[in-house]
Every structure is written in structure tokens, then in C-alpha cells.
Symmetry: C2
Subunit: 379 residues, 2 copies
């Protein structure tokens, strides 16, 4: 196994928030951290150099997408995931579970695994815990995830229970199959918003002693309050000396509230997907850059923002780029949003370090929740 | 008038090629030079920082596109073209003539000017020499162009003659209307591939004493040989102490042959348009990055190339990005192609400086012509 090092630097006195450093084979990660999503090996429209300039130091790639195209053999032939992504820092791959259950047509599922039809060409593919782990071992990310069964929201109790049992069983199989000593393997807690299920799943996974623990199956329509209630409950069940990762989350409000509950790691497509749709995150709320109110606006997207976009381009210019379908529109707003998220995480880390996180977080949460926590997702 | 400074540094002994420095209000330009095209205020998919890193130091924007969207008032309100493009170096705007005759539906044309319907929304717009000059004065580029009438290829003699007479007449009106002392104004020689027409047009324009002279109306289907024959003939008619600009050209072979004939400046969409279509320029000929022969290829697009793309990404990765429609595919190949063109121009300048241009050019021309001079245009 990789030599896991998760060093807690500071714990907030009034909340679960903590400041730590996670050591991986490709470098250290200051947590709490946000990981931009490079689905098929690229963060859409953003070069690794630009990504680094936003402050990112760990990124995520999706096993499901890479498995379909270009395939694991090709990734290996091209020198592995770090080489393919031209990213020499830490990378995390998910297990493919989420996409199998959300993107593909399932053709068969049982306690052993899942057969599905590729959303690209309909090709039948079989995945189970062992195969998903072997694939991730070969892709070569620094952190890999257990193969889990994700449930929709809402979800019937019997379905939820079956998914949790399978997730526990598959986690054990993943741990057994894991054979790349340079990688950390994280377990994933499932259980919807059923706190008892979460307790059961967490306690079984903790027995298996993973390098870190993810909270999965959230941000699927349950809403901010249900999400945070579940996260708060689950985070407390996880070992203090291991990193906690809330998968696929989220808005600034989601992240701040989850950090407060003790979460260390996040990933989400919001900064880039919304950026491509002209939706900019700012500390004063969302701004839609396509809007004609910006036509003659000489101000940057966000005053004081030090990102490449805000230092060089006005709202008027960005609005023009969207209006004429110039690629720079989506690229620049994605860059701003990625920078915004990294700035938010840097501020979170600083506030925890200064023992001022809790009060700051409550103030920020009030502000961000007035902007609407789900509006960003609907674009 | 702007204080024109065009300093000849070296002339090739065996050809018309020359090495010079053109001084503009936003800095010096080493010629021969290639100008990337930022049609509507952006080089497609490429940030100004990335563009600078390719070696570009002067860029082009299209008056026609900017006039339609966002409009001249908006460009002024946003601080002018340099601010809008986030480009603090030299910029050249064309007059809009070429696009009026190629993109829009002409509704009326006479000796005074042109009425056309916008290709975006059908709005009727009137342009003549005075208006086109006033628009360019307001956009604020460092070099602006006279409003000219472009002809198709082939073109009837009577139509060609009428277009040449109008171009001469409009050039005089542009010179009279020109009212921004920070800008250089270039005249445009028209006349298709009719050498007598070119002689007539050039001699009339030279009498008007422009800051520089362009050769327009080429690269419209006449082929490499006709183009170079016309360029060689026309370049000799232009004053030695003024810059010469071959508009909208071209392939590496076109550029090398035109430099040999005494041309100093070029612009073309080929590096970016072809880049978006996965077509990469290399010294060993064109490479189509979509091609499945690259699937497992660990080599860069071009061995030894120092561009961001070649230093970081393999052919296999780029092929994958095109295969899954990742924006990075078009971006990276555009970056490579822009770098390739700048490298070509740097080599041209060096060879002229070293008095070795002519022999080198003949060798290069033989090589590039075997790759096919027009293949790049057909993508």
C-alpha cells in the first residue's frame, strides 16, 4: 500500500472543519480542497497550464469515460493518465459507478456486478468491483475509488438497502483486488438520506480500513438541507485521521456547509459546465454573462478578482464573445469560475488556520443561500 | 499622420526578400511577419497570453465582423480594440471590403459604395470609403486598410476593370477621410491576375503615397503559380521603403514564395481553421490528428517543436481529444499551427539576415509544394 500521510494541521474549535495536508505519489494536497473535473482526460477548454494558474493542484478524471474512450490499453500505451492529461500533480479517478448508473443503459445488475451498454456506441461492457479496481490500477491515478452502487433520489427503502449491502460487499472486493502500491484507495459510503443506512454503511467500511472515505450518492436532487444533514451525520462516523471526500458537490454554499461538517475534498463540474453556459460565480452572486445588461460594461466579472479573465477582459467583451459564439467566452468564464472556487477554498483553509472558520462560514452561508443553492445546477 | 518608420535591415542578394522593422503606435514588428486572425476580436479558442507565447506580435481583426457585432459604439465604449482584444501590441484591421463581397448579400453597389445585408440578421448596412475609414479610425487599430472592391476568380475583364477603378478612387477618398494620427493607412492593389491591371492600380496608388501597400484579391482560387506570378509582378511596382502586405495568404509555400518576391506581411486563417479541423502543419507535411494511425502514438505532433502542445501532449492524446470532442483538441492543434507559422517566419527572417534566404527558400518550396499547396485550404 502507498504510504498514506494525512496530517491534520488545525481543527476548528466550533465546528467539524479541519485543515490538513494529504500526501500522494504526485505531491501534497492542502485540504479542504476542490478538484476540477477532467472527465475524459481534459478539463473542458482549459489547458493544464491554465488550470495550474487558477490554483488547482489535484484534478479528477472519470474512469467510465476513459474506459469507453480511449480505453485502458490506450491510456497505458500513451504513458498513463498523468502523461495523457499532461498533469504532473495528484489525480483522482472515480470508479465508474456513478456514470454506469446515470449515463448508460443498464442491461443487467446483480450482486456480482453490472452489465451496461456504452452511451457512445451501445457496446456491452461488464464491470464489477475487481474489474473497476484493476482498471483504476492501470490508469494510474494517485487516489482511486471503490466501485459502488449509486441510488437515485427518491429511492425505495428496499432498493437503498440492497445498494448499500452491495456497496459494502464490493468495497471489500475492491480492497482485495487493489494492486498498485502508489495509489490510495478510498471507500464510498452510500445510503441516500437515510441516516441509519449511512451509519451501517460507514461502520462496515471503516472496519475495512481504507486510506480515505467518500460520501457518495448526494447532490442528486435531495436539496441542500437534506444533503448537509446527511453529510454532518456521516462525517462524524468516519475516522478523524483519514481524508473525507464529498463526491460531485457542489455550490459554494454546499461546500462551505460540508467543510463545516468535517469534509476535506470536493469535486464538481459546476465551475466549467456553468462557465460554458456563461454563468459566472461571484461573491456577490451569480452573473449571466450573455445578458445584454453587460453590453457596454467595462468592469471585470468580479472586481478585485486576480484571475486571468478578470485581469484582462471586461464584462462587455465576454458578453460579446458569447454573443458571437467565440470559444473564448466559455473558456474565460470557466477560467474565472475555476479561480473563484480555488479562491473560496484558499479562504476556507485560511479561516480554519486562523481559528475563525465557524463565524465566517455562517456569514458566507447566509449570503450564498440567498443566491439560491440549486440555481447553478439547473443550467 | 503617424510617424511611419519602416527600417530595412537587410536585402537578400538573389531575390526580392527583405528583412525590416515596422514601427507602430503599439510597438515594433519584425518583418517578414505573419499575423494571426482574430476575426471578431478573438483568435478562436486562443487567449492573448497563449497567442503571445506562440511568438505572435501583431494580430488582425475584421472590421466587417466587428461592425456587425458588437458594433463600433460598443468597441469604443469598451475602451477600443486593443482593450477589447486584451492585446497591447500592434493590431491591423482590414476595411471590411473582402467580407462585404464574400459573406454578405449585396443589395446595391455603385461607384460611391456598397449596400449589403448582414449575414447575421439581414440588416441593411451601407459602406463606402469614407465610412469604412471612419469606422477603422474609431476601432483604433495600429494599421488600417483602404476600402476596396474585391473580385472573384475568374472574373470578366470589364468587371475587373471597374473594380480596379473603384478601388483607386476609393483609396483616394480613404486617404482624405483618414483622421486618426496614431494609425498607418495602407492602400490595396487589386486587379486579379491581370498584370496590366495590377500595374495600373499599383502606379495610381503609389501616387497617393500610402504608409504601406497591400496586394489584395488573391488566394481566391487562382492557384499558387498564378498567385506568385501576380505577387512578383506587383511587389516590384511598390516603393522599396514601404511595407508590402499580401492579404489572406496563405500556405507555407505561398508565404515563402511571396517573401522571395518582396512581401513583408501576411495574414491567414489557415493555422486556426485547420487546427480546429485536426489538420496540423509540420515541416514534414500535413498531419490529420483525427486519423486512427495516431491512437497509440506517443510522439508529439512535430519532433523538436517547442510549442506548448508538442512539449506536453502526444499525438495519441490529441487524437483522443478530437475523437471525444474535447475542446482541447482544436485548441492544442491551433496552438501548434500558430507556433509553426511563427517558427517559419522566424526562420525566414534569420535566413534573410544571414544572406542565405534564396537557396533555403528554393529548397523549402520544393518540399512544401510536394505536400500540395491547396490541400490546406480545402478543409
Amino acid at each position: 500500500m502507498a504510504d498514506l500521510k494525512f496530517s491534520l494541521l488545525n481543527k476548528d474549535k466550533n465546528s467539524g472543519a479541519r485543515r490538513a495536508v494529504l500526501t500522494t505519489a504526485h505531491g501534497d494536497v492542502d485540504t479542504p480542497v476542490f478538484m476540477p473535473v477532467g472527465t475524459a482526460g481534459a478539463v473542458k477548454g482549459i489547458t493544464p497550464q491554465q488550470l495550474k494558474d487558477t490554483g488547482a493542484n489535484i484534478i479528477l478524471a472519470n474512469t467510465y469515460h476513459l474506459l469507453l474512450r480511449p480505453g485502458v490499453d490506450v491510456v497505458e500505451n500513451l504513458g498513463g493518465l498523468h502523461k495523457l492529461m499532461a498533469w504532473n500533480g495528484p489525480i483522482l479517478t472515480d470508479s465508474g459507478g456513478y456514470q454506469v448508473f446515470s449515463l448508460s443503459s443498464l442491461t443487467k445488475i446483480d450482486d456480482d456486478g453490472v452489465e451496461f451498454a456504452s452511451h457512445v456506441d451501445g457496446k456491452k461492457i461488464y464491470l464489477n468491483a475487481k474489474i473497476a479496481t484493476q482498471i483504476q490500477n492501470r490508469l494510474g491515478a494517485d487516489i482511486i475509488m471503490c466501485f459502488d452502487q449509486c441510488t437515485p433520489f427518491p429511492c425505495e427503502d428496499s432498493q437503498l438497502k440492497q445498494a448499500v449491502e452491495r456497496t459494502i460487499c464490493w468495497a471489500e472486493q475492491c480492497k482485495q483486488a487493489h494492486a498498485n502500491q502508489n495509489q490510495l484507495l478510498f471507500g464510498i459510503v452510500q445510503g441516500g438520506i437515510d441516516l441509519q443506512m449511512r451509519t451501517h454503511c460507514a461502520s462496515e467500511l471503516v472496519k475495512l480500513d481504507f486510506d480515505g472515505y467518500a460520501i457518495g450518492g448526494l447532490s442528486v436532487g435531495e436539496g441542500h438541507e437534506n444533503m448537509i444533514k446527511t453529510v454532518s451525520h456521516t462525517a462524524e462516523l468516519l475516522p478523524e485521521n483519514k481524508p473525507r471526500y464529498l463526491m460531485g458537490v457542489g455550490t459554494p454554499a454546499d461546500i462551505i456547509a460540508a467543510v463545516k461538517a468535517g469534509v476535506d475534498m470536493f469535486d464538481c463540474v459546476l465551475p466549467t459546465r456553468n462557465g460554458r453556459n456563461s454563468f459566472a460565480f461571484t461573491e456577490n452572486g451569480p452573473v449571466r454573462m450573455r445578458n445584454s445588461i453587460h453590453i457596454n460594461d467595462n468592469n471585470p466579472i468580479e472586481a478585485g478578482c486576480q484571475c486571468y479573465c478578470c485581469k484582462n477582459f471586461s464584462r462587455g467583451t465576454i458578453r460579446h464573445f458569447f454573443n458571437v459564439s467565440e470559444m473564448l467566452g466559455p473558456i474565460l468564464v470557466s477560467l474565472h469560475n475555476l479561480s473563484f472556487y480555488q479562491r473560496l477554498m484558499a479562504e476556507i483553509r485560511q479561516k480554519i488556520q486562523e481559528n475563525g472558520f465557524d463565524a465566517w462560514a455562517d456569514q458566507q452561508l447566509k449570503k450564498y443561500i440567498t443566491f439560491g443553492t440549486n440555481s447553478a445546477n439547473s443550467l
